[in-house]
């Protein structure tokens, strides 16, 4: 029995598998089309400009990178904190982390003004730059998590999984700290420039990464006509609720501290009250869909009923949507609000000083962003088909049904 469960690729469904592969492939092809077009014609074809310099591709990229770090959390809880349920999910967690990071970095690279100079970025490091440190963290993440996966999946190296797991744990904390600091270190913009950015990104990464993990896990179980044990489902739901709650707490503290500083009032008014799309995305996307709704679903006590779409899948999906909204508000909203050149003065110029900047993502930005998701999706689909990433719990035969919750 256990063997059948472990051999994930033996389940057939070849047509469906290739259909999924085709879907991922189409998304990747779309991103490549956008990349070559922009490489030839320049970013003039995008909605990005000299005011909104980071747009939709960066929203998706940073979301995927942050989620990658968070997806590894499941493995960390197993290896670092010794929780057996999570240990069995460590390989899937590590693989998902690598897939998500690949997707995020893929978008970042494809959106560069000079992607042909990637080798320059890999060989010339300005160690004053948190961006340069991020590159080291990203490359190191691939190496360390790759090694971690080997120790998890090769019996002879099992002993090393704990120390390497520790290293991966601290490395990803560093990675997310550095990613949050990309924004925290921008001194001049009202929307960034906060020491809270780093810890806030870490806690958000926990929520986004676990949410994606839960969706992927549920999909794999469903694909194999298996049911995840209710106790495990409840544990993960509670953990997700803690992370979502903590993310909401950091969001509240971030805006409250801003509201305490008179010089930040205008920015807060922009995001919270009259920022148009950014205000809508903040309240409806980030707060309601990303936090209030999933928390409500996660805390509802229900009997073991049968449901078409489980709350334990729906809630994480809402967290993912809310996470993308949060990134949009943080990254694009932070740029849309104008720089303060002369405090207490109104400024006007031909270079759009003093005005809220408009951003309308074009088709190429959408293609790049979806391409990043496509890379992560395709890598995951292939990996779970080829390797034994399905968590190897001790299943009871009676649970072989398509129940959810």
């Amino acid at each position: 029995m256990a063997h059948e469960v472990c051999v994930n690729q033996g389940g057939g469904r070849t047509v469906e598998f290739f259909a999924l592969l085709g879907l991922g492939g189409v998304l990747i092809l779309g991103a490549l089309f956008a990349f070559f077009t922009l490489e030839h014609h320049g970013h003039v074809l995008t909605g990005m400009n000299n005011q909104i310099v980071w747009g939709l591709p960066h929203v998706v990229a940073v979301f995927l990178i942050v989620s990658a770090s968070g997806a590894l959390n499941v493995a960390s809880i197993g290896s670092v904190f010794g929780k057996d349920v999570y240990k069995k999910r460590a390989p899937l967690s590590g693989m998902l982390a690598l897939a998500l990071l690949s997707g995020g970095l893929g978008v970042l690279v494809l959106d560069l003004g000079r992607p042909d100079r990637l080798i320059v970025a890999m060989t010339h490091y300005n160690f004053h730059s948190i961006f340069a440190w991020n590159m080291i963290f990203y490359n190191g993440f691939f190496a360390i998590v790759g090694l971690y996966l080997v120790t998890l999946m090769e019996r002879k190296l099992k002993y090393w999984s704990r120390p390497v797991g520790f290293l991966a744990f601290f490395w990803r904390l560093g990675l997310t700290t550095a990613t949050g600091s990309i924004f925290g270190f921008i001194v001049a913009r009202a929307g960034y420039n906060s020491a809270l950015m780093a810890p806030m990104f870490i806690i958000m990464s926990f929520a986004y990464g676990l949410a994606i993990f839960m969706v992927v896990q549920a999909s794999m179980y469903s694909w194999n006509d298996l049911t995840l044990d209710l106790t495990i489902r409840r544990r993960m739901k509670k953990l997700l609720a803690v992370f979502v709650g903590a993310s909401l707490y950091f969001t509240v503290v971030f805006h409250l501290t801003n509201l305490y500083f008179a010089k930040q009032w205008d920015y807060e008014q922009f995001i919270l009250l009259d920022g148009g799309i950014f205000t809508v995305l903040f309240w409806v996307g980030q707060v309601f869909i990303g936090a209030v709704l999933p928390l409500s679903l996660l805390f509802i006590n229900r009997s073991q009923g049968e449901h078409l779409v489980s709350f334990s899948v729906l809630a994480p999906l809402f967290v993912v949507v809310g996470g993308l909204c949060q990134m949009y508000v943080t990254i694009v909203g932070g740029q849309a609000y104008p720089l303060t050149l002369f405090p207490g003065h109104e400024v006007r110029s031909s270079f759009y000083d003093g005005v809220v900047h408009a951003y309308h993502p074009g088709i190429y930005e959408w293609l790049l962003g979806l391409g990043g998701i496509g890379i992560a999706f395709t890598l995951t689909v292939v990996a779970v088909r080829v390797f034994k990433f399905l968590p190897q719990d001790d299943f009871k035969p009676v649970l072989m049904r398509r129940s959810t919750d």
Binding site: V44, V53, L112, Y125, F131, I186, V187, E346, S349
Partner: protein, 247 residues
């Protein structure tokens, strides 16, 4: 002591005297010029003995005049278009005091900070500060990540969104790279003034004063010593090379 021995000693003295004279004649001018001139030949690198800067008197800056902008565009091969994706290295900013309603106009460009955020954040080191304080972008190392544009407090940088044609030989620009005011480094290195300053002088406003902030004999040094001037966003402590008076 024999005669032959004496003669050898005299020869040696003569040789040392002659050698000393030759060495003195060879080295002295170089040492003297080094001490006096403190300037550099065109083929030499920039020197930290200088720091180029600008003092802008906003009370002299003509309302509605944009000759500095036009001169910059002409000198550096910019189109002069003002769409959201077009490059603008210098722009006229109207600043209105919200309490009093007083409006003044001033040119805004790269402030050539001594602690430039753009240089700090650039992952590859393409954003760099020359020894003489001019902040530039190395067009061969810029990967077009635009992090410097996020970091600049003065919105001084532009991203080249389109392929470039008919560029100025002295001012290479490239699609996918970030660019900004260079203080017309190609002119400064020849001992000339930046194009904007020259245009402002030609118009008769004389609102822009360019020079070496470290040279006590320079006009800008003397002006800064006798006038109250401010840095824009002085709270950020970036020690800008461009200073303003009258605001």
């Amino acid at each position: 002591m024999s005669d032959s021995m004496n003669s050898k000693l005299e020869d040696r003295r003569d040789f040392l005297k002659a050698g000393g004279l030759v060495a003195g004649v060879t080295l002295a001018p170089g040492l003297l010029f080094y001490g006096v001139a403190q300037s550099r030949a065109p083929e030499e690198g920039a020197s930290s003995r200088q720091r180029w800067g600008m003092l802008i008197d906003t009370t002299k800056c003509g309302d509605g005049c944009s000759d500095c902008v036009t001169a910059c565009n002409t000198e550096n091969g910019l189109s002069g278009k003002t769409g959201p994706q077009d490059s603008q290295w210098i722009r006229k900013v109207d600043v209105k005091d919200l309490r009093t309603g007083y409006v003044q106009s001033l040119p805004m460009m790269c402030q050539h900070c001594d602690n430039p955020p753009c240089v700090d954040v650039c992952p590859t080191g393409a954003s760099m500060k020359r020894a003489d304080g001019i902040v530039l972008v190395d067009r061969h190392a810029c990967i077009g990540c635009r992090y410097c544009m996020m970091a600049c407090p003065y919105k001084a940088r532009s991203f080249v969104h389109e392929p470039m044609h008919d560029q100025k030989p002295d001012v290479p620009r490239g699609k996918g790279c970030v660019e900004s005011c260079t203080f017309c480094v190609q002119r400064v290195d020849k001992g000339e003034q930046p194009a904007c300053v020259e245009a402002c002088d030609a118009k008769g406003h004389k609102a822009m004063l360019f020079g070496d902030l470290k040279d006590p004999q320079s006009a800008i040094f003397k002006a800064l010593k006798s006038t109250d001037s401010v840095e824009v966003r002085a709270d950020l402590a970036l020690d800008t090379g461009v200073r303003y008076q009258g605001i």
